[in-house]
Each structure stands twice: as C-alpha cells, then as structure tokens.
C-alpha cells in the first residue's frame, strides 16, 4: 500500500481557493511500475509550472506507478543522449521520462522522451510541442497522457476535467456551487452559484456545455438548464411543474434524456436540441428517472420502481418495452454505461449504498466500494476508473476507484463535494 500526498495549492487562478481538491492515493498496487520523471532541462524563468512535477503527480495519482524521488536521482539528463542507462538500472528504475523546455517568442518549446532503461535504443513515446505561455501544466498533462498510454495501453485522462457540486455552510448561510476543475483539482472555476440546491451536472459530448438542475424558489420551480462553460450563456431546457431533472446527453450531442413529472409522475423524456421538441420515452405510473445512454446511442438504462423496489431497466432509444437488468441486491439505482458499453456502474442499496459494476452480457455484479453512503459513479473517459461520492469526515467527499477495485484515491477539500461528472476526452 502506497501513499502519495499531492497537496494541490490553488492561488493564482481563482478567488475560490477553498475549491482546492487534494488527491491522496489510499490504496495502490504492489505491482506498480518503477519510473523516474527527471526534472526538465532548460529555462522556465517565470516559474510558471514545474512540468516534471505535473507529470509525476499525474502518474502518481493513478496508483499504478512507483515514482522515484528527485533527491534520489543520481543524474538529471534532459535527453536520451545524456542518459547513462546502467546507473538507472542499479536504482531499479524501469522507465525514464526526460525532457527539456526552451523559451520561444510566444512561450516555450517542450520536448520529452519516454525511455526504457533496459532497452536503450527504444524511445517508447516522445514529442516536441509549442506551449504558449500559461499552458505548461497542460503540456505536462499531455506528456503524462502519452506516458500512461505507452505503459498501460489505455489512453490517459490527465487533460480531462471534472464537474462537481460543492456545498458550504457558513453562519447559517448555505451556498451551492457548480465547479469545473482539471482532473487533478487545479484551475477550479465556479460556473454557477446559488443558495438553493444545484444538482445532476452532465457534460455534453463535446465537453463545452453542462446541463444541470437549479431551483427557482421564488417561482417554486426546478429548472433544467444548459450552460455554455466558455461563454457562461444559460439556456433553460425545461421548467415545467414538478420534476425537471436527471439530464443525460446522447452520445452524438443532439438529444438529451431527462426526467419530467408535469403529467403526474416521473417518466423519461427525450429532448431534441435541434427541433426543441420533447418526446416521452417511458410511460409508467412508477418513478422512472436517472437515464444514461449507451455509447452507441441505441438504448438507455434508467432507474424505476415499477417492480416494487428501485431497479435498473433498459429501453431502446426509439421507445418500446423496458427490460429489467438488475435482480441482485435490494435495490439498484442510477446506472451509467461504461465508455465501451459493456458494463454499468451503479449504486446498489441494501445495508448501505455501494458502487457496483455489472457486466451487461452476463449480468454478473461486482461490488467495488464498501459504503455506507457511496453514490454518483462517473466513468473516466478511458473507462479505467470511476469517480464517485462517499461520506467522509466532513461530509461528502469525492473518491476514485479503478474498475478492478484495487486502486483507490480520495479527493478532499473544505466543505461538501458531491455529484462528480467526468468530462469527455479533451
């Protein structure tokens, strides 16, 4: 079991410094890959970012790598030609990330190479890119993506973002904030703030919009709205009487599944963002809610208590009869498709609420977390891990778990953090 403490200090980017998420690997793997990320050679006069540190923290946060501490490094080569492979073998490092930064007119030129210590001729990954001023962290995340992919076979998600809802209580005042941050907790941006609840953030497939639920207490309404993250423009999708909730975009971004109850009880509807027409997908006097689209856009899963307790059902996007998918566990709620469409992550209740993974074909259910109040699972876009909410010492906090259940991290900050939604690949 390894422990990394990545203290993420956020000062320059935002006034909401309390939104800093701190990532801590609480359970790692014994088969971690030994790697050294050597501090990059070259100028970085304004001290914008320690790019090697960004890469190291990214890799460390996955729990899959055993990172060599800088003060243990015998040499700090900036390119393959400067590497003494034998020395690195003696300190049991298998892979080496080396690189250099040079100043250019508009910013920097960044080069990196991923080297196999035991096969000196091989360069496993490399690139040279121009990084404008202010984008060194981003460049570091891009390098981490390449290193992660070269060594694990899965695309890295270090350039993605997460959206989440925070709740702070100060002197009887409650404040909800919808925050979008880099996946490592940096650059948090508050995109909506309200004394009334904010719920159910959902990314558009292009990563440019968030749909979420807000409450207009003066009008006594819940409002499902879409916000352009770049421009801030907000558009109401539905503010009917009753529930306007559970937004979920279709994979092509054209449609949005949502829950409405103006007709008497919650059913799933499909909103066409082009024609702005609403079509009812499910018709059942029970609660039908929490829809999620299959990656091929052909079907949806949703929560329904039409059979008594809450269970997961599947329905074709074109409509028709719904088929019950879950039978194990007292109840199963809020399923989301994995990016490959083969499994569902869901919340299983019964003596606590835990995150489970179900193989859609075999219906085999695997409980991943221990509860007691885990919820809101959201897949990383590479399908390798989930972010979810658990109850921590000071209320709800975010956590991640690898889909094999072995690697766990906690993401903490002051106040409550909930309803994480992982962005698409960006």
């Amino acid at each position: 079991m390894k422990k990394y403490l990545l203290a993420l200090l956020l000062t320059a980017f935002t006034a909401t410094s309390h939104a800093a998420l701190r990532i801590e690997v609480t359970e790692g793997t014994t088969a971690a890959i030994p790697i050294a990320v050597v501090p990059f050679k070259g100028t970085n006069e304004d001290g914008e970012a320690d790019i090697a540190r960004v890469i190291q923290d990214d890799l460390g946060s996955t729990g899959l790598f055993k990172l060599m501490a800088r003060d243990k490094m015998l040499a700090m080569p900036g390119a393959r030609s400067d590497v003494n492979y034998k020395n690195w073998r003696t300190v049991s490092v298998d892979y080496l990330v080396v690189g250099q930064i040079t100043s250019t007119e508009s910013g920097y030129s960044v080069r990196f190479e991923l080297l196999d210590v035991y096969t000196p001729d091989r360069v496993l990954a490399s690139f040279e890119i121009d990084a404008p001023r202010g984008s060194l962290r981003r460049a570091g995340h891009m390098i981490a993506n390449r290193v992660y992919e070269a060594l694990t076979g899965h695309p890295g998600v270090f350039t993605t973002r997460i959206a989440y809802v925070t709740l702070t209580r100060r002197a009887g005042e409650i404040q909800y904030e919808l925050v979008v941050a880099d996946q490592d907790g940096y650059n948090p941006q508050v995109i909506a703030r309200s004394p009334e609840p904010i719920m159910s953030p959902s990314w558009s497939p292009d990563g440019r919009h968030l749909a979420y639920v807000a409450f207009d207490i003066d009008r006594g309404l819940a409002i499902l709205q879409v916000q352009d993250i770049g421009t801030g423009k907000v558009q109401a999708i539905s503010a009917r009487e009753g529930i306007n909730g559970s937004p979920a975009w279709s994979p092509d971004g054209r449609y949005m599944a949502l829950t409405l109850s103006y007709h008497g009880n919650p059913d799933i509807f499909i909103f066409d963002t082009k024609t702005r027409k609403m079509r009812q997908l499910t018709q059942n006097p029970a609660i039908d809610t929490e829809a999620s689209w299959s990656p091929d856009g052909q079907s949806l899963v949703f929560t329904s208590d039409r059979g008594g307790g809450a269970q997961i059902y599947q329905v074709a996007a074109s409509g028709g009869n719904a088929q019950r998918l879950t039978f194990e566990g007292k109840n199963n709620q809020r399923a989301v498709y994995s990016p490959d469409g083969k499994s569902l992550a869901l919340v299983q209740g019964g003596g606590g609420y835990r995150i489970a993974l179900m193989d859609i074909k075999t219906r085999a259910m695997r409980i991943l977390t221990s509860g007691p109040l885990d919820e809101s699972p959201s897949f990383a876009p590479n399908g390798q891990l989930l972010i979810y909410t658990r109850s921590g010492r000071s209320g709800a906090e975010l956590a991640t778990i690898s889909i094999d259940g072995r690697i766990k991290t906690r993401l903490t900050q002051r106040g409550e953090v909930r309803e994480p939604a992982w962005s698409p690949m960006q």
């Binding site: 980017f13 006034a15 202010g134 984008s135 981003r138 005042e173 409650i174 919808l178 941006q189 508050v190 995109i191 909506a192 703030r193 309200s194 004394p195 009334e196 609840p197 904010i198 719920m199 159910s200 807000a214 409450f215 207009d216 207490i217 003066d218 009008r219 006594g220 309404l221 819940a222 409002i223 709205q225 916000q227 770049g230 421009t231 801030g232 907000v234 009487e241 009753g242 529930i243 909730g245 559970s246 829950t259 109850s261 919650p266 609660i287 809610t289 929490e290 929560t303 809450a310 109840n331 709620q333 809020r334 919340v347 209740g349 007691p372 109040l373 919820e375 809101s376 109850s391 309803e419």
Partner: protein, 189 residues
Amino acid sequence: MTTFKQNWLGLVMIAVLGITVAGCGGKDKVRDDDAFPTYNEDDSNAGSTSGIDTSRLNERGLKGVESDDRRRFLDPNDPLSTRVFYFDFDSDRVRTEYMASIQAHAEYAKRRGSRVRLEGHTDERGTREYNVGLGERRAQAVQRLLAAQGVSASSLRVLSFGEERPQELGHDESAWSRNRRVEIIYERQ
C-alpha cells in the same frame, strides 16, 4: 488551454449570470426565511398537538399568510401550526395524526384563496434524482388530501427537493426521520 487562464475573468461573470438564472436574484430579500428551516431552540413553551414540536417552527413558508393570521400558525394549540409532516421510511402515506392539521390548512387555503406549495423531502439514503421522485410522491400525497378537502388544483403546486435540503445533518435514524417530510409553504400571492 491558454485561453483557460484568459477566460477566467469571464467565468467569474458567468457565475454571476448563473445566480440570476438559478433564481436567487433576490438574495438579500429572501435570505432569512428561505434558508434551511431553523428552529428557535430557546422557545420555552414547546407544546404540541401531535407529538411534533410544532411551536418551534419559524415563519418560513408564511410569506403568503396575512399578518393578522400569522398568530394562528404560530400558536402550538392551533392545528395550522403543524406545517411539516413527517413520513415513515420508504413510505408516502400521510400519518393519521396529521389529518386534523391538513383539514385546517385546507379550510384556511380555501377561505383565503391561498397559493400553497408542498415541498417534498427524503432522507439521504438512495440516489439523489430517485429521491427527488420519492419526495414528489410524498408532496403529492398531501396535495391529494388538500384537494379532497376542496382546495382547487390550480392553487396547489408540488416541488420536490429529494435529499438536497435536510432538516437535520446526522447520518442516523433520528436525523433521517426528521428529513422524510413535506412542508406546507404559503406562497406570496
């Protein structure tokens, strides 16, 4: 990604926009009674018609009640003082102990032509949007009883918060039992 930093000031403005759209424009005006229900702990004459500490309720939800009538809503011996109805676990059945209060509210609403909002709430167990559905069922159960007493459908509306606005913050049955509830809100006319 460069634009990230540059956009930041713009994003602060977005936040402001978000507020307006999220309907909290009148923040300063409504802040006090629209916050989570608070209870006056040192109210010593805690009496009750139903076993619930109705006298501890503040004036949240009384915006639509004429000031002459407020006294009744705050008098623990008046059935109108019960404005929060608690529910059993996993149940949307209104307890019989609340029937007298519901009847009193129905009569009052009819007489005054009040606009009444029924806010449904659940405990924290289960997923959030599903709980919004459960909270709505509870609010609808009270709505049906009021309608059955002759309150016009057009003056009744239901709003469910699910588990989003707990009355108590604990993670045990005593907190959960206070969070499974429906609140009667008299909306401003």
